[in-house]
């Protein structure tokens, strides 16, 4: 059963249709909207499986279907769908995780008033995300990229009556827009220099050798190679969307949205879009790798940004007390890892980590969601605690998710994918700094995860909400179990012994693994690191669990100033306010001044001038012109009056003159004229 690229559009189209149904159905059509959304996503999942089968049948082939969108002056502007192992894997992941999250949110959002609208936005988001994945043209990708941004705004600001949610939605939208600006510029520059935006177009595509060759050859300002410049611009889009170092501030605030939203968007799919984008345009990013005399390589920038983000995310996560914010910062750091993997040259490891991370991070968020749902929306871990007894299934699945995230060896998918990244980082010849940052990151990840587990699940419940928390209905716990299973199993897809995923993605057909012994050193190191992190975490939080909600944090006792600084998220928000915020208000004030005094003054000046000329005109007109004309016409009327006296109106008089005139005339002719 094969699916030709031509029918790829079905995958995004089905959730879009469900979104339409959700939108058009009246508010009371809750079941219908939800059912449509889930059914559409399941159908889309089935189509993606078929697509996966076709893609894996010939992993190297890039099944492309291009069609004419509209004719733009001389040429025809074309878009298209692309089917290759990367697209297939991403589609399957998004649809599978999406379905589970949809089912979970059936329970989670049951009490909400506009339940129907929620599902409409969710399916809209799924459609946009799938559209982004299957796109063969950078423009189509950009369009769905923007739609994804819109969907995230709608979903973050879902409880818009909460001012903080509305502000968070705006913040998310604006910061991602800043990144998107870079992507747009890169897109335009690409179109300008290569004349087309299609990735693969039978040789003429952007990512094909001919175009890349021409890009690499051109050099712009500062000796920077054009392909590097475009690559970096596109990377800006990725930074914005995936919450990398400078533009990560919106992700923690995005936690204002309902938890399934955070799970779907801010764990599994949307944030991964940035990584997917760089993976998709990887040939373009690599184009400048061979040139030596280039001031900077695109991928090195990616690598360093990824390393910084990973380290920073992990540090801040340690000091967070809100369960969803801890997970948010852990997402930031894991994305940093993916960018690091991309930067150091192994995009396959990045995609593998993306896939595994999608599953266990979704699991962790849904776990957090069921905890919050059970504890009546209590999110602060200091006032939770002791839930392991009350919520058995959630506790077990949450524990499995945490192990996968931390990278407990051998059984958990997180370990293999992180291992691959460390291996790649270690092998990078440019510099070893990112490797050391990654290593420190692994330790910190292990530490804050154990802190999280200890604070929420062990010890005694420290608030009335935590007191009577109880396990949720199966509709919420079932997805947790499924995700937990995936979190464990997926790891074995791509172990060094049998690197099936890598071969598929790289397009090679037969799989030849190498024995475990080669990477043994690194594997040993990571095991040690994980153990170190876990030990430290247990030491501080495990043995003596927190006594009361207000008790001071053990770490804060040791390093109060550092922890306060970390808790304040490295004061980035204040930094941005201070710089960008003030700049904005200053320029607004200046514009207002300009408007009022400069232009306003000019306009009033003109008005005065107009009045003056009018005055002058009336004066001259009154005095000179009218006077002149009046007496001229007076002279004409005089003789007119004289002649009019001849018109007496007496018909006989006229006839008499007629007759006399005739007589005189004839006499003249007879007497004088003709002889």
């Amino acid at each position: 059963m094969t699916l030709s690229a031509q029918y790829l559009w079905l995958i995004p189209a089905l959730p879009l249709a469900a979104a339409a149904v959700g939108a058009l159905v009246p508010r009371t059509g809750r079941a219908l909207a939800a059912g449509a959304a889930i059914a559409a996503l399941v159908a889309s999942f089935l189509v993606s499986c078929v697509a996966l089968v076709t893609a894996l049948a010939d992993p190297a082939a890039k099944l492309v279907y291009n069609f004419a969108w509209f004719d733009l002056g001389a040429g025809v502007f074309r878009l298209g769908w692309l089917l290759d192992p990367l697209t297939a894997f991403m589609c399957v992941m998004v649809t599978f995780v999406g379905t589970l999250i949809f089912i979970f949110s059936l329970g989670y959002m049951k009490a909400d008033a506009n339940f129907k609208q929620f599902f409409c936005f969710l399916s809209l988001f799924a459609a946009a995300m799938l559209g982004l994945i299957v796109a063969n043209s950078l423009l189509l990708l950009f369009i769905s990229w923007e739609l994804v941004g819109l969907a995230s705004y709608l979903l973050i600001g879902f409880w818009f009556h909460k001012p903080s949610a509305a502000a968070a939605a705006k913040k998310a939208f604006i910061t991602t827009r800043i990144g998107d600006l870079g992507l747009l510029l890169g897109l335009l520059w690409l179109y300008d220099s290569t004349g087309s935006l299609l990735f693969f177009d039978g040789g003429a595509g952007v990512l094909e050798a001919a175009a890349l060759g021409s890009l690499a050859a051109q050099v712009t300002v500062g000796g920077l190679v054009v392909s590097t410049a475009i690559g970096l611009l596109i990377f800006c889009g990725a930074i914005g969307k995936s919450g990398q170092f400078p533009l990560h501030v919106w992700l923690p605030d995005a936690m204002e949205g309902p938890t399934p939203v955070s799970a779907l968007i801010h764990a599994a799919t949307m944030v991964a879009a940035g990584v997917f984008l760089i993976a998709r345009v990887y040939p373009l990013m690599q184009a400048d790798a061979l040139l030596a005399a280039v001031p900077v390589h695109a991928l090195t920038v990616v690598a360093f940004i990824g390393a910084i983000t990973a380290l920073m995310g992990a540090c801040i996560a340690v000091a967070q007390n809100d369960i969803k914010r801890v997970l948010a910062f852990s997402t930031v750091s894991q994305l940093g890892y993916m960018m690091l993997a991309l930067g150091v040259g192994s995009w396959v490891a990045a995609i593998f980590h993306l896939l595994t991370h999608a599953f266990f991070k979704a699991l962790l968020f849904l776990g957090a969601g069921s905890v919050i749902h059970a504890a009546h929306h209590e999110q602060d871990i200091r006032s939770l605690g002791g839930l392991s007894a009350k919520m058995k299934v959630t506790f077990v699945t949450f524990a499995l998710g945490t192990c996968a995230l931390v990278g407990v060896p051998l059984f958990f998918s997180g370990f293999w994918s992180k291992e691959a990244i460390l291996h790649a980082a270690h092998g990078w010849d440019v510099s070893h700094l990112p490797f050391y940052a990654a290593v420190l990151g692994v330790v910190l990840t292990a530490f804050y995860n154990t802190r999280l587990m200890a604070e929420t699940f062990f010890g005694k419940p420290r608030s009335p909400a935590a007191e009577h928390a109880h396990e949720n209905s199966p509709v919420m716990t079932l997805p947790l179990v499924v995700l937990a299973v995936c979190a464990v199993v997926l790891g074995f897809l791509n172990t060094p012994v049998w690197p099936w995923l890598d071969t598929m993605l790289l397009g090679k057909t037969e799989v030849h693994g190498h024995s475990l012994m080669e990477g043994a050193g690194l594997m040993g190191l990571s095991v040690v690191l994980v153990a170190l992190g876990l030990g430290a975490g247990w030491a501080l939080y495990g043995r003596r669990t927190r006594v009361s909600a207000t008790a001071p944090d053990p770490l804060a006792v040791k390093a109060p100033r550092l922890m306060a600084f970390l808790a304040a998220k490295l004061k980035f928000d204040e930094l941005y306010d201070a710089t960008v915020g003030r700049l904005n208000s200053a320029s607004a004030a200046f514009a207002d001044f300009l408007e009022f005094w400069v232009w306003g003054g000019l306009v009033t000046l003109l008005a005065r001038l107009g009045e003056f000329t009018g005055l002058v005109n009336r004066e001259t007109d009154e005095r000179t012109l009218n006077g002149g004309f009046d007496n001229v016409s007076e002279q004409v009327r005089g003789p007119g009056r004289v002649y009019s006296r001849a018109q007496t109106g007496d018909v006989h008089g006229y006839l008499r003159f007629l007759a006399l005139g005739f007589v005189v005339l004839v006499l003249l002719v007879v007497m004088g004229g003709a002889k």
Binding site: H652, L655, R656, A659, L660, F662, V663, V666, L667, V670
Partner: protein, 172 residues
């Protein structure tokens, strides 16, 4: 032959002169119709039968009716207006002007060197030839005169009809 002519001209001129002098409009109109009959007789004497009959049909048949109706509609029939002074002075000046013109015309006629052919009989013109002439070279003017007549009559009807806006048209 000239004897009949003299009688006819006497009839015409007499009727016309008296018609112009009379006070009573109806009598002067009828006398004028008599003079028109005289003119028709003159045409018969001159041999133009068709024109004579046309003259009778149109002048005595139709125009006399128009004149008489006009006289009735303007209520001139019964009260002959009194002779006041300005009409007499106007009469005298009119006479002088008319006399002047008559003098000039008669002078011209008498002084005219005609090569007179008394014996020549009236050119025989059958109605068929006249019809052919009318339809042939003069067809256009026939159409124009037809158009003129319709337009004139429509105009006359509109002018003379007494459309008082307040009185609704008497529906049958």
């Amino acid at each position: 032959m000239t004897f009949a002519l003299i009688i006819i001209s006497a009839l015409i001129l007499g009727c016309a002169a008296v018609a112009m002098a009379l006070r009573n409009l109806i009598h002067s109109a009828l006398l004028l119709i008599g003079s028109w009959a005289g003119v028709a007789a003159f045409y018969l004497w001159a041999g133009a039968e068709f024109v004579a009959f046309a003259q009778i049909l149109i002048y005595i048949g139709a125009i006399s009716m128009v004149v008489l109706f006009a006289v009735l509609l303007t209520r001139q029939g019964d009260a002959p207006e009194p002779v006041e002074f300005p009409s007499l002075s106007r009469f005298v000046t009119g006479l002088i002007a008319g006399g002047g013109v008559a003098g000039v015309l008669i002078g011209a006629i008498l002084g005219m060197p005609f090569d007179v052919r008394t014996a020549q009989s009236a050119p025989a013109l059958s109605v068929k030839e006249l019809g052919a002439q009318l339809m042939g070279p003069h067809a256009v003017s026939l159409l124009v005169i037809g158009l003129l007549l319709t337009v004139a009559l429509l105009g006359a009807v509109l002018l003379a009809s007494d459309r008082r806006p307040d009185q609704p048209e008497d529906t049958p």
